[in-house]
Amino acid sequence: MTSVGSGYDLYVSTYSPDGKIFQIDYANKAVENSGTCVAIRTKDGVILGVEKLVPSKMLEKSSNRRIHHIDTHIGVGISGFLADARQLITRARDEAKQYRQVYGQPIPIKVLSQRIASYNHVYTLYGSVRPFGCSLIITGIDQYGPQLYMVEPSGSCIGYFGTSMGKGKQAAKNEMEKIKFTEISTRDALKEVARIIHTVHDEVKDKDFELELGWISMTETNSVHQLVPQNLFEEAEAFAKAAIEEANQ
Amino acid sequence: MDLKLSPFPTLEKQMPIEHGRFEAYVDNGGTVLAVGGPDYCVIAGDTRMSDGGYGIQTRKYTKIFQLTDKCVLATSGMQADTLALQKRLKTMLSHYQKEHGKPMSTPAIAQFLSNTLYYKRFFPYYTFNIVAGIDEKGEGCAWTYDAVGSHERVKYASQGSGNQLVIPLLDNQVAKFNQQIIAGGNVTSQQAVSFVKDAITSAGERDIYTGDYADIVVVDKDGVHWEKFELKLD
């Protein structure tokens, strides 16, 4: 790393001569070391999938969740430092709550995403702070339909049909390119997400992982964000394993 | 012809605007009493909750609250304050238990309740309490309070809307005031229970805020024993 030792990477208040803020790059590194998170937007909903790496067999299943609810109509997937993400999630919940109190209606996903992005951005301006070591994929349904945004440590906030972050983000993006987002059904997308997570998982480097699936759909979940129910989860995971089996033969 | 104009009618005085000021206190009524014996204590309280007037909100609201295995709190007055007081004592006793590794003794609870009430001296809990149970020596004991924490240890006590009806009965039958022939011997807990039932039934006969059912509680070395007892529903 060229930046190390140059002195330009110690504070976010200092640019390097070629116009970088290294602390932001480092924060992105923290995200890239984390399990993959992918999301796909369909006509009537959004699917979130997370490869939750399990560092110890002694961990109870379903602990250290990486998919969280923000409001009834919003869910986020996280990659990077859990503790940093928790701060953003608390903030997002407060924003959603405050928006409801002021305007009497659910917060639009875009507004929430931009507010979280602004919050992230403030942590790239002052020498006494560090950027958050996590990215969020924010999914939900509002008056404009299903929405999918990704918010990064730099404070960027971009909408997508499908996106990914974490270790396997490039592989996941390659997989996603084949999907026709405007045609795929939510149930099929669910299986695809499960398949992609299983495909990009690196058996050699990371042994154990737990798949986490969250979804929101106008037809399937009545526009409420929730974790995918047990039976559908198992179906999707079985599909994913079968697809990988087939590909390997 | 001169027209005589009558003066424009004015109101003699401005009618006061009707202001239903917020009344923070309500008396939900009810009678509680306690009689301490040599190794037991009997506590009774009716379960009627009035609406502050002639209405009965519910017929089954118990006024007696168990604080420890050796101590109960009987409260009449305002139900909302009673509930707040009970919750507060419950948490504080739980803190005490955790800090000291043992439950608070009944006399200590008695002092603690006084402090709690006095702390709210300028916005009092509208509650009239009896703390009763057995003390560290195993003897029956009772304390009575006013709303701001004045208290006294007594052999027997009564509080609430039927207080005036019950207290002479207790003076006569427990303290044996002004009696020519004094019946000797200790009263057993069974005798005390039947006597306390008579007392609260009598209160229910004359006091409209007392009635429906009664909780009869006996505290002795084996713990706290509850019994339901029927009063008149009128």
């Binding site: 969280h68 409001d71 020498g127 | 923070a24």
Partner: protein, 259 residues
């Protein structure tokens, strides 16, 4: 004279609100000059409810009065909170709406926590009771009588909370004029028929609301009836009560005798 421009220096200004970084609400300025509710303005009248064999039924009319003026005649006075609870409110409408917002925030937070546990009727009842009591302690009451009902895990819940924080659970609960007029009728009906079914309970509520309409000048004949049972929660569409014909002259005298 040149104006000295001072740039905000981090550490001098509390950009991040270090004192309390967790919550957004605490950043809001505290408005100390507040007007306290000394008397209600727009009010609903009675709420009545009864447990039946397998659930709870509650009824209200849909009128909200401005003093003696029948101001709003189609206001729903019952709300669902979470999957198991309905609250019916009499008294100040705005205070109930404010309480509804608070409770919906609580329900949303419960959804976010997503631990498999859902807010129960008794939890909501206790929460509401504390909110009401804390407001009365500040001398700023929420001017309502609230009936909380629900059904969860095979058991019914019915309780009442008022503006000073008085709260209790019972099989029959009425507020306002309902406590004077409907409550005795309902207690009698429950005594005569201890195992009331849903239809009978609904009929009883409807009959009592009719009696209230006849005698309570702040009531209306447009009502709603809600039910909590094993099928979940249901708040009915507005129902127009059948009452006697309000003609003048002989017809009215005749029909009055049928009341």
């Amino acid at each position: 004279m040149q104006q000295h421009v001072s740039f905000p220096v981090f550490g001098q200004n509390d950009y991040f609100n270090y004192k309390n970084p967790q919550t957004l609400e605490n950043r809001m300025p505290v408005v100390d000059a507040k007007k306290k509710t000394q008397d209600p303005i727009v009010t609903g009248t009675s709420v009545i409810a009864i447990k039946y064999n397998g659930g709870v039924v509650m009824g209200t009319d849909m009128l909200c009065s401005y003093g003696s003026l029948a101001r709003f005649n189609s206001i729903q006075r019952m709300e669902k909170f979470g999957s198991y609870t309905i609250i019916g409110a009499g008294g100040e409408l705005s205070d109930f709406q404010s309480l509804s917002n608070t409770l919906n925030d609580l329900v949303t937070l419960d959804h976010c926590i997503d631990d498999g546990s859902k807010l129960s009727p008794s939890e909501i009842y206790n929460y509401v009771a504390r909110v009401m009591y804390n407001h009365r302690n500040k001398g700023d009451p929420l001017w309502n009588s609230l009936v909380v009902m629900g059904y969860q895990n095979g058991s019914s819940f019915l309780g009442k909370v008022d503006l000073v924080g008085t709260c209790f659970k019972d099989d029959i609960v009425c507020t306002g004029y309902g406590a004077h007029i409907a409550l005795p009728l309902m207690r009698k009906a429950a005594l005569d028929n201890p195992n009331m079914n849903l239809e009978q309970a609904k009929k009883l509520i409807e009959d009592c609301l009719r009696v209230l309409f006849y005698r309570d000048a702040r009531s209306s004949k447009k009502i709603q009836i809600s039910v909590a049972n094993e099928n979940g929660l249901e708040i009915s569409e507005p129902i127009e009560l059948d009452t006697y014909m309000w003609q003048s002259g002989e017809a009215a005298v005749k029909s009055f005798s049928q009341v």
